[in-house]
């Protein structure tokens, strides 16, 4: 052999003072090394300082071994392809993704998981900093972030912000908690940083500034989400999906599959025709995740795809004629003529077409359920944003069933009901009498687990010389795939004058849309706020000025002034006035939200030891529901929060609303207040006027052992009425040579009535802004134009914003009037962002991108068009 490892090293060995090659003994010339597998064999792993024996095949990943055999469910499985960092562990101190590491390769190395860094009772240094800064929302990504930061700080105990950001550049957070993570990381590396914006927002914060109550469990990895739960004798099942826009399933090798060891059920609809990418064509159920995957592969599906029109413009053309429609077609009706007539006195009329993309929800915890009929009553562990939307599972199972969802890894509107995943789990459980788990992998999650419909929007709007809107035409199309309801909120927010509006839903061959955080609003707002700026530009008017003249909301009019000053709007340069390669621009966008509280009940029990239990069946999907209940109860009872325990995510508890329409807190708050007031009324000894812990403890001492109980409902007396107005300012930098856009800072003003918990509220706003930026710049469902498969059905090529794309964000919570009550906060802050970013890009360059996402290609094309 001419070259050996030694020869290669020979030359360098002498000179190599720094750093030497890692050497390993390699004398063998025979094939002597042992063969592992393909079957499973015992394997000793050293995890968190302890030796653990698992059974692993060579293909078993470290992630699978840790989650399913070593009890380390804080290590999360999200993308399973190295792109999200949720499964990060330390291997001899180095951060690696355990989903791309073979378990056998980890043998002989020290594996450290989030569990090894501390516990909720005794959190580690990094965990403690995360807790203090409320660096967590749904929490599903957080153990990965904690582990990455831990590695960075071990390497450099005084790491600075840049280094810390880089250290989490491989961790994705769908809720958008990055800014809080940065704060926490800085704190952990010895920098003094405030938690959020105490000076700006403490006056608005009526109640609590403490971190959320369930932060320790989530951050230390002990919180058990639906996807983490397991049960003895568990079966694993999945749907078989059609990858094509339209196809007939010609054949499937069911015979082979049914004979495979570990396969319990396999059904597919051979001969069936499927009309969208992601359509379920059958299912497989097996004894283990590996057997399930083997079965899915062995099905060897043969499809006959058909050519259909896959692009939105083509679909519109096919179904409704060209987009935008000819103007005559819009002025045929009386209404259309009236709107057109309103333009006669216009000083300017602007016509523009806008488009927004299809955005997939991608909560990091996938959709799914584990249904267990072997316990009494039966249990359904569902990843859902509506405990009581899943109670139908009991009927499918044919037995009384409790729905459990104590921790939920995000939903954003896509997780109402048990979904087809829950239904399948219940059906198989009913047939087999065994617990069944159906959780999507990331491909299934991308193909058919919810999306925000795309839109095509055309506007023709006139304004008078003072910038007052006179009216015009608005034509919108929702890109809904095989679904319905692609509604777009356009026109929105302003007094638009005499508008003629028409909407159509354009059908196609992708999965049906689902509600997505503020359905219809970001799409409509992107167009409406872009149009406002285009009109301002045509009139030579400042964008704030034109809004002040047309915005009916008094609150927003005040926000423009305050925000402009705090943001430094006066430094905004005239649109298109810059010449250099890097150009900066500022833009603004707005929102509002209103909703009536839903029905809700809450039970409260005071215990003789002075502690208090609150029971609500509702769910916490990351918004901080537990914390809102705890803080409000403490407020009403005039005691400290530490006395309060909250129980939720359980269908046996009092009924409450699903988390949709931003009503969870809005509905629960009145019920908590009502329950607490009734409890106080029931006290045998009246509490002193001022309350306080001592008085409370004294009053509780004589309570009966089972405690004193009261129930409340969402009583109108406590309703929060009114809207949740918001205004956001964004500054961007555009590289005009490459078209790359970076958002530098965002100033977000947001009203939400009573701020129950400052940190949680700030976190919601930051998350809304970051999802908005992700939508504005990166996200896009990339489908093959020919056969319609979603090519980027992963988290590597479906781009969600990451740590290095995060701007500085200031959250300015806008105090409501006295007695405002709790209003909505979940949805509004994600509405204005894409519009603000789009307007800032136009201001920087003088070239407007009217389609989302604002990619380098579109920026370059817009610049070219303008030149």
């Amino acid at each position: 052999m001419g070259v050996s490892r030694r020869d290669f090293l020979a030359g360098s060995a002498a000179a190599a003072a720094v750093p030497p090659f890692r050497s390993a003994p390699g004398p063998a010339t025979e094939e002597t090394s042992p063969v592992l597998g393909p079957g499973a064999a015992p394997l000793i792993l050293r995890v968190d300082g302890k030796e653990i024996e698992v059974r692993a095949e060579p293909r078993t990943t470290l992630l699978e071994a840790l989650r399913w055999q070593a009890g380390r469910s804080g290590v999360k499985q999200v993308c399973d392809r190295g792109a999200c960092g949720a499964c990060t562990v330390l291997l001899d101190g180095r951060p690696v993704v355990s989903c791309m590491t073979l378990a056998v390769d980890a043998a002989g190395h020290e594996v450290t998981t989030v569990h090894g860094l501390g516990t909720p009772e005794a959190p580690g240094r990094v965990q403690q900093a995360f807790i203090e800064h409320d660096a967590v929302q749904c929490g599903y990504c957080i153990p990965g972030f904690v582990t990455s930061i831990e590695a960075a700080i071990r390497r450099n105990p005084a790491a600075d912000l840049e280094e810390l950001k880089r250290a989490v550049a491989g961790n994705l957070c769908r809720c958008g908690t990055y800014n809080k993570v940065f704060e926490a990381a800085l704190r952990a590396s010895g920098h003094a940083v405030p938690a959020g914006f105490p000076e700006l927002n403490a006056p608005a914060c009526v109640e609590n500034e403490a971190p959320r109550v369930d932060a320790p469990e989530k951050i230390c990895g002990t919180a058990v989400y639906g996807a983490d739960h397991t049960a003895p004798g568990l079966l694993f099942a999945a749907h078989v999906l059609c990858p094509w826009s339209s196809a007939t399933l010609k054949s499937a090798d069911l015979e082979t599959v049914r004979r495979l060891p570990g396969v319990v059920e396999a059904e597919v609809e051979v001969g069936g025709r499927f009309e969208y990418c992601g359509a379920p064509a059958g299912h497989v159920c097996a004894e283990s995740p590996a057997a399930l995957r083997d079965a899915l592969t062995a099905l060897d599906l043969q499809w006959e795809p058909e050519l259909v029109v896959n692009d939105p413009l083509g679909q519109h053309e096919e179904q409704f004629g060209p987009f935008p429609p000819p103007r005559e077609s819009l002025t045929e009706t009386e209404e259309g003529r009236r709107a057109e007539a309103a333009l006669e006195d216009a000083a300017v009329v602007v016509e523009a077409a806008y488009a927004t993309q299809i955005q997939n929800h991608n909560p990091l915890e996938p959709h799914g359920a584990l249904v267990d009929p072997t316990v009494e009553p039966a249990e359904a562990w569902v990843s859902t944003q509506g405990t009581f939307t899943c109670t139908g599972l009991g009927r499918r199972l044919g037995k009384e069933t409790v729905v459990r969802c104590e921790f939920v890894g995000g939903g954003f509107g896509s997780k109402f009901g048990p979904g087809r995943e829950g239904a399948l789990a219940a059906e198989i459980a009913a047939r087999t009498g065994r617990p069944v788990r159906v959780f999507n992998d990331r491909e299934a999650e991308q193909l058919d687990a919810g999306n925000r419909p795309g839109s095509l929007q055309w506007m023709r709007i006139g304004a008078d010389a003072e910038g007052r809107l006179l009216g015009g035409q608005v034509y919108t199309a929702g890109i809904v795939g095989i679904g319905r309801r692609g509604g777009v909120s356009n026109p929105a927010w302003y007094d638009w004058g005499t508008i003629h509006r028409k909407h159509v839903d354009v059908r196609g061959h992708h999965s049906p849309p689902r509600a997505f955080r503020a359905p219809g609003r970001p799409q409509g707002t992107f167009a409406c706020d872009s149009m406002m700026d285009e009109l301002a530009e045509a009139l030579g008017m400042d964008p704030i000025e034109i809004r002040l003249r047309n915005d009916p909301s008094e609150v927003r009019r005040a926000m423009y002034r305050t925000g402009a000053e705090a943001f430094g709007w006066e430094q905004r340069r005239p649109t298109g006035s810059q010449k250099g390669r890097l150009r900066r621009g500022m833009g603004v966008g707005v929102c509002d939200w209103g909703n009536a509280p839903g029905r809700c009940r809450v039970r409260v029990v005071a215990r003789p030891d002075g502690s208090v239990d609150l029971y609500s069946g509702t769910q916490d999907i990351g918004q901080g529901q537990r914390t809102v209940i705890a803080d409000l109860a403490a407020r009403q009872l005039r005691i400290s929060r530490e006395r309060v325990r909250v129980h939720l995510g359980d269908s046996q508890l009092p009924n409450g609303p699903a988390s949709g329409g931003s009503v969870t807190a809005r509905s629960t708050a009145p019920a908590v207040m009502d329950a607490c007031e009734r409890l106080l009324e029931k006290f045998p000894v009246p509490l002193g006027r001022n309350g306080g812990d001592d008085a409370w403890e004294a009053a509780c001492r004589d309570l009966p052992e089972e405690g004193l109980e009261a129930s409340g409902r969402a009583d109108e007396r406590y309703w929060g009425t009114g809207g949740s107005e918001g205004v956001q300012f964004a500054e961007v930098e555009v590289d005009t040579e490459t078209g790359v856009v970076r958002v530098l800072r965002v100033y977000a003003l947001q009203a939400c009535g009573l701020v129950v918990n400052r940190l949680a509220a700030e976190n919601q706003v930051i998350g809304g802004v970051l999802q908005g930026i992700s939508y504005a710049l990166f996200e896009d469902r990339l489908a093959d134009p020919v056969y319609g498969y979603q090519l980027n059905a992963d988290l590597l090529h479906y781009k969600i914003l990451g740590a290095l794309d995060v701007p500085e964000i200031t959250v300015h919570l806008w105090p409501g009037p006295e007695g405002a009550g709790v209003r909505s906060l979940g949805e509004p802050p994600t509405i204005p962002t894409s519009a603000a970013v789009g307007n800032a890009v136009a201001n920087a360059t003088g070239a407007r991108v009217r389609s989302l996402p604002i990619t380098p290609r579109r920026v370059l094309e817009a610049l070219e068009e303008q030149a």
């Binding site: 001419g2 070259v3 597998g37 951060p95 990455s148 491989g170 390669r581 914003l801 990451g802």
Partner: protein
Amino acid sequence: MRRFEYRIAAGLDEALAAASRPGTVLKAGGVDLLDRMKEGIERPALVVGLQQVLPAGVAEEGGGLVLGAGTTLAELERSPLLRERAPALARAAGEAATPQIREMATLGGNLLQMPRCLYLRSRHYPCEATDPGGGCPAREGEHETHALFENEGCSAVHPSNVAPALLALEAEAEVAGPGGGRHVGLAAWLGAGAEEGGRRPGEILLGLRLPGRALGDRCAHAEVRARQSFDWPLAMAAANFNLEQPRLVLGAVAPRPWPVAAPELLREIRERGPEAELLERLVTRAAAGATPLPGNAWRLRLLRAAARRAVLQALHVAEETW
């Protein structure tokens, strides 16, 4: 992933014997291999681990540097030797993928990973590159990130972040093969046919040598990508002015790292400095001969930007000044 047998090769001979056997694949960091196996496009019967076989680390040798093929991207990124003497490479490694992937991915594996064409990477599509006669669905389909040069057949771009910098550093590969060992220029080994020194079946990369003449702080790597956190570059370039004959190599624009043939211009730039007019001629030369596809012609702008930036950075001229 389908089932496979796994063996960690104890020595080079064992690895070499395995490398030539059908149904067997080698694994270094395993990132790309696991990716492919999970995608369902790689189904080996046997995987042979190279972790005991591949040299790892960066060391000085003679006037140059040697890099073990088993060195991780993170080690390249952090190596004080590289940061000082081959900053283009340290930077290229540090910009690749994510921090976690960089801890796992090896130099050799990064160079030899499979291209990122989304059709190639999907088990749902047939494709010319893996099954002859399968056709190329990218041509009519999605090809925004595909090649601008040499794209008549398969247009998937060479995916390695570190390859352009290594070519600009005139890296020489040290490979072991069934017929013995050899030294070959990396450009030829990655890009040429077997007759011209290209990669032969069963060869294992042991390491790379960077000659002393190529080293110094006048080299740089620049890339353009849409998302900053981690993303595949839309264009990249590495420039090296340490050499007597300076070099400029592009990446993510062709099925192989793409050297720009402009020797006089590069020398002129080194002598006179990166004057605007010279740079303009250079980037025009860099884009010359491109045959873009309908959906990716716009990336020529990015190629020019990457080339310009690499040159400016290599010469330590602030970008904002032009």
